[in-house]
């Protein structure tokens, strides 16, 4: 369908954008790449009175890598991540997982900030943010603040952001070079939304046992979540099939997926089990 009518503004600073959002009293929406918002508007699931285009706001397209980790500006696009040699070293899980995000001509427009704000439970990036303990930098009428990614998402397409808040950037903590990690996703077609996906990483302690296990699930819960029971089944164990299978079983038990036309709840739960086993086996390569 054609888009419903709306007004359009393209401010040149964050401050101006925040002021426009505040004046919009909840009827204004930010436009980043538009790859999620415009389809939602075409379906009349959103009908904002004003779109505030972020494309003229400077400094939001920066990828910064230093000893404090990785910082992505809100307007960093999927293709920017895929084409960044620095990220392949500094946060290898990210470019690997981003290969699954949508299609080629969507990756040239879609942004990390847009994906976080849209909060689709089947989207890869919010799941990576939660799994990796990322911090979200936000600017609103009261100034700038940070919040952990796992407090940003409150449900399907819902966040804890206020109506005048702008996601400015996301920061990922430093990533040890010898960290073990894997990302596994199942979708019907390359680039489609995940029916389920798993992001996993862990470190090995001096005795070769798993420590600091992080297991995140995408698309099988109503918001991206870490799975503490699966992580507990891994921590302190030698990385082997026995604990991998135990963790996968714990992950499947911990998920309570909803059923839709794409997959039943049982099928999604089964995918979680299979994908986590696959991902954990991949960490050994």
């Amino acid at each position: 369908m054609k888009l419903p009518p709306f007004d359009y503004a393209s401010p040149t600073s964050i401050t101006d954008a925040v002021a426009l959002l505040a004046a919009g009293k909840g009827e204004a929406r930010l436009l980043a790449g538009g790859q999620s918002l415009l389809p939602v508007m075409a379906f009349r699931l959103a009908n904002p009175a004003l779109l505030i285009d972020m494309r003229k706001i400077p400094d939001l397209q920066t990828i910064a890598v230093d000893d404090r980790g990785v910082r992505l500006g809100a307007l960093v696009r999927w293709c920017d991540i895929a084409n960044s040699p620095a990220l392949k070293k500094a946060l290898p899980l990210l470019p690997n997982a981003i290969e699954h995000v949508a299609h080629y001509a969507i990756q040239t427009r879609g942004t990390v900030g847009g994906s976080l704000g849209h909060a689709d439970p089947a989207a890869e990036f919010p799941g990576l943010a939660v799994t990796c303990d990322a911090m979200i930098e936000i600017e609103g009428s009261a100034g700038r603040r940070e919040m952990p990614a796992n407090t940003l998402f409150t449900g399907p397409l819902q966040t804890s952001l206020g109506h005048d808040d702008i996601i400015v950037a996301i920061r990922f903590p430093p990533w040890p070079a010898d960290r073990k990690w894997a990302f596994e996703e199942f979708s019907r077609r390359h680039g489609d939304f995940a029916l389920a996906a798993i992001a996993v990483f862990y470190d090995l302690d001096d005795s070769g046992r798993i420590a600091n296990a992080h297991v995140g699930v995408i698309a099988a819960t109503d918001k991206p979540t870490r799975l503490p029971t699966a992580e507990a089944a891994l921590n302190g164990q030698m990385p082997n099939s026995e604990c991998f299978i135990a963790a996968s079983e714990a992950a499947a038990q911990a998920c309570n997926p909803s059923a839709d036309i794409h997959a039943s709840a049982d099928y999604r739960r089964s995918l979680v089990r299979t994908l986590l086993t696959r991902a954990l086996r991949k960490t050994l390569n």
Binding site: A42, A105, T108
Partner: protein, 159 residues
């Protein structure tokens, strides 16, 4: 609201409402009807055009967002009656039947092969997953794309 950009090396300036997509602007305001609009929510790929060298869904881009950009549509791929190497490969391999999806597939592959002239078949298949074609079964499209790579390696046709 005025939006000003270059399309197929021609400067244009159009007065549009904010809700008008780039695809509708190209077709209805600029009469460039080679760009086809189908699903209007980014799934089918038929409306793909090239904006600042990158393949973009023209149904998921507003005409006002295109202000200041350089756009190539299917009309800009050929030089008058002379087909581009990619188009010639499509004709040779019979890579279209009804032709509705073809403009979007040609623009997508043109942008992709310009950036990735050494792409393997798997990468080409992954890219084409974003363009629905209900006639060909894709085999002939992939054969044409594979053959056209040599022209892009030689630095063909960045218009």
């Amino acid at each position: 609201m005025r939006t000003t950009f270059h399309v197929n090396q021609r400067a244009v300036s159009v007065d549009v409402s904010p809700r008008m997509t780039l695809g509708d602007c190209l077709r209805h305001e600029l009469k460039l009807t080679g760009t086809h609009i189908a699903c209007e929510h980014g799934v089918c790929g038929a409306c793909t055009v090239i904006v600042d060298g990158e393949a973009v869904r023209s149904c998921l881009t507003l005409a006002v967002q295109a202000d200041g950009t350089y756009i190539t549509t299917i009309e800009g791929l050929s030089d008058g009656e002379a087909l581009s190497p990619l188009q010639l490969a499509f004709r040779k391999h019979h890579a279209l039947q009804c032709g509705f999806c073809t403009p979007g597939i040609l623009t997508t592959l043109h942008a992709f092969l310009t950036h990735n002239p050494d792409a393997d078949e798997n990468a080409i298949r992954n890219v084409l997953s974003g363009n629905l074609c209900r006639c060909t079964g894709y085999v002939s499209i992939i054969a044409a794309a594979m053959e056209a790579r040599s022209a892009y390696r030689a630095g063909a046709i960045a218009r």
